[in-house]
Subunit: 399 residues, 2 copies
């Protein structure tokens, strides 16, 4: 075979650590707290089947033909209304439909970054964002978080210590973060936007989980806050997704960005995939238009609340081993093993006992905290949560 030459980022790339864990999923009896998969039992199958049938019956050509790169008007209109219900005023022309919110970040990287540019990312943060930035040759700096998310005081000091203009953008998941589950309080949101204005920063607000709040009071998104602020206006690009609230199988996300950025991302998307599956778009538009999401959401939230509560109850039994921060939404609980126990060593014991989680090291750009771990309560059922945590307790005892 020829001796292929690869780009520098792909000389010896490593895939997602989380995806590497997938091979253990097929072991008989395995219970997984690892992936960020939504619960299959909560999929709104009947309404989705109806939306699918109706979409094809009513507009078969919109399903089957190419669509405009920015997305089908019918879906962009529904997403603009959805953003309105969530508190931000967004016209359908501001919505760019993407192939999952993951594609939004890929487009932004193409449009905004040169190799060597500096980007700030929460520590710990979303691994696929870290990976995408690294592969684009960006210099990734960590922004410290605590159990409330980004520590904006320390961020202020960090930015002040850097030469002006060093940081091109800041990527964050401010609402029910992956992996920590943290939700950034209002005062910090405002402080973050003030920092963006002061340091001429663009903020990428990745928000796949924001609608999954099951306790506490809703907070405005960074996008919404920026719309109300003279200084911060135009400083937030908002990414979101239907994957966690409807179904990942649609592979539908969207971006709301200032015009100059939106137009360029649309041009970039022409060369990336021309458009996102129009068929999937038409199904989603039909589902949203019929109001099915609003009908399904309370049940979804109740279901995730129960699962989260069940996992917190089980983890309380393990408190001699692990310290956790209860989330108010999303899919994840972040834990720290006590006495510096290695999450990787724990994982080996856990796999033997047929329970999976993600060691926290996957979520750090550098200097990983090896005693950290991420547990997802979203996919397993209540009984599996109980059993999985019992097994995790046994794994701890073996260390």
């Amino acid at each position: 075979m020829p001796d292929y030459r690869f780009s520098s980022a792909f000389q010896a790339p490593t895939g997602s650590v989380i995806r590497e864990l997938f091979k253990y999923l097929s072991l008989p009896g395995m219970i997984s707290f690892a992936g960020g998969y939504p619960a299959a039992q909560f999929f709104d199958r009947t309404a989705l089947a109806a939306a699918s049938a109706q979409a094809f019956a009513e507009a078969p050509l919109d399903c089957l033909q190419y669509a405009a790169t920015e997305g089908l008007p019918a879906l962009r209109e529904q997403l603009s209304l959805l953003m309105g219900r969530r508190g931000a005023q967004v016209s359908m022309d501001q919505v760019l439909v993407t192939t999952g919110s993951q594609q939004g970040l890929d487009l932004l990287i193409k449009v905004l970054l040169e190799p060597g540019d500096t980007v700030l990312v929460e520590r710990p943060g979303y691994p696929a964002a870290l990976q995408a930035l690294r592969m684009a040759g960006a210099r990734v700096l960590s922004a410290v978080t605590d159990r409330d998310g980004l520590d904006t005081e320390r961020l202020a000091a960090q930015l002040a210590a850097l030469a002006p203009g060093t940081v091109r953008l800041l990527y964050c998941v401010p609402t029910f973060a992956n992996p920590t589950g943290a939700c950034l309080p209002l005062a910090r949101r405002e402080q973050l936007l003030a920092l963006a204005a002061r340091h001429d920063l663009l903020i990428v607000e990745d928000d796949p989980y924001g609608a999954l709040r099951f306790s506490g009071q809703a907070l405005p998104s960074l996008l919404e806050l920026s719309q109300r602020s003279d200084d911060a206006q135009g400083r937030v690009v908002h990414l979101s997704s239907l994957s966690k609230v409807i179904a990942p199988g649609l592979r539908l996300g969207w971006m709301v960005a200032p015009d100059a950025i939106n137009q360029r991302c649309r041009i970039a998307k022409q060369t990336v995939d021309l458009c996102t599956s129009p068929w999937a778009q038409q199904i989603a538009a039909e589902y949203l238009r019929g109001g099915a999401l609003e009908v399904a959401l309370p049940g979804l939230l109740a279901g995730y609340r129960d699962k989260c509560q069940r996992m917190l109850t089980g983890l309380a039994e393990l408190e001699e081993y692990i310290e956790i921060s209860p989330p108010a939404g999303g899919m994840f609980i972040w834990g720290k093993c006590r006495q510096g126990v290695s999450a990787q060593a724990l994982l080996e014991q856990a796999i033997e006992r047929r329970v999976l989680f993600v060691p926290g090291a996957a979520f750090y750009a550098e200097a990983p905290e090896l005693d950290s771990l991420r547990l997802s309560f979203a996919a397993p059922d209540l009984q599996q949560i109980d059993t999985g945590l019992e097994r995790l307790g046994e794994a701890f005892k073996r260390l």
Copy 2:
């Protein structure tokens, strides 16, 4: 608003020339020979509706949940069988499902190219490939074509004149090219592969149209030929798509690449869109598994043969104005206006008379031939083809 900073490729990007023509489509009575859209009347609506219903009924979770990045096994199996029917031996593990074949090129660019790397592209060639390469900072060199496609004699001289290792890859559409409709003869295919071996070249064979042959005898793809050759083995990456043979709305393509490239593209895809819409994949798998494509294909080919023939007949009436090369498949007829008439000037007259085509300039990396143009016979019906060509004749008369 803030003064945004963009990457160098996106300082002042221009979108697709073809997509810019879309705005004229809404003019009343417009007949379009412009886009590369498949004919809506040939969509296999009944079988697709049945496949969609069955996919969801049989495997709702495969439709709704995340899939592995490389694609659903059910679809990869069908695509491996499809490649077999087309003559190439491809295991399902070699198939990477992509969000249209356009994504295949985007992944390859990420994995194989650094800014400044040299890539050869047919002249004239597919604009979205030229654009993707340009935006990645590649140095695009033109490879001369004639009515049989790549002129491999001249390519041999071109490669011999360059320092060894200069060209990282060669991108081509050897079968029913966009825009020329040319089909590379067997002897040239073999010569091209010999050149690839001699100059350590990787060839990207983009093949969305190959299955749309409506006259003449099938030729082996470059991939198939490379499999039979000791020297050329592993030197072809094959991209294809269901857009032209089933429906663009699925947004499904695939890549067949040597393992080292396939694995890296899979890792790149994790950061690009995680996976291609599983729902669309499941529908396509169901459609293919039931044998519907093989049932539909003869009718599709007969339909495109009729349209092409009708356009050729009409163009024969315009032979004092335009010189064309009849294609044996695909969707396009390439023409040259006689006496150096400007295709752009012709377009202005044509739009007034409500007929659209694409001036050839869009298909050149540099030094466009301004008297060239591309006509697609795929989307309009037979009556529209007649009327559109009459209008084109009137437009010629006004110049």
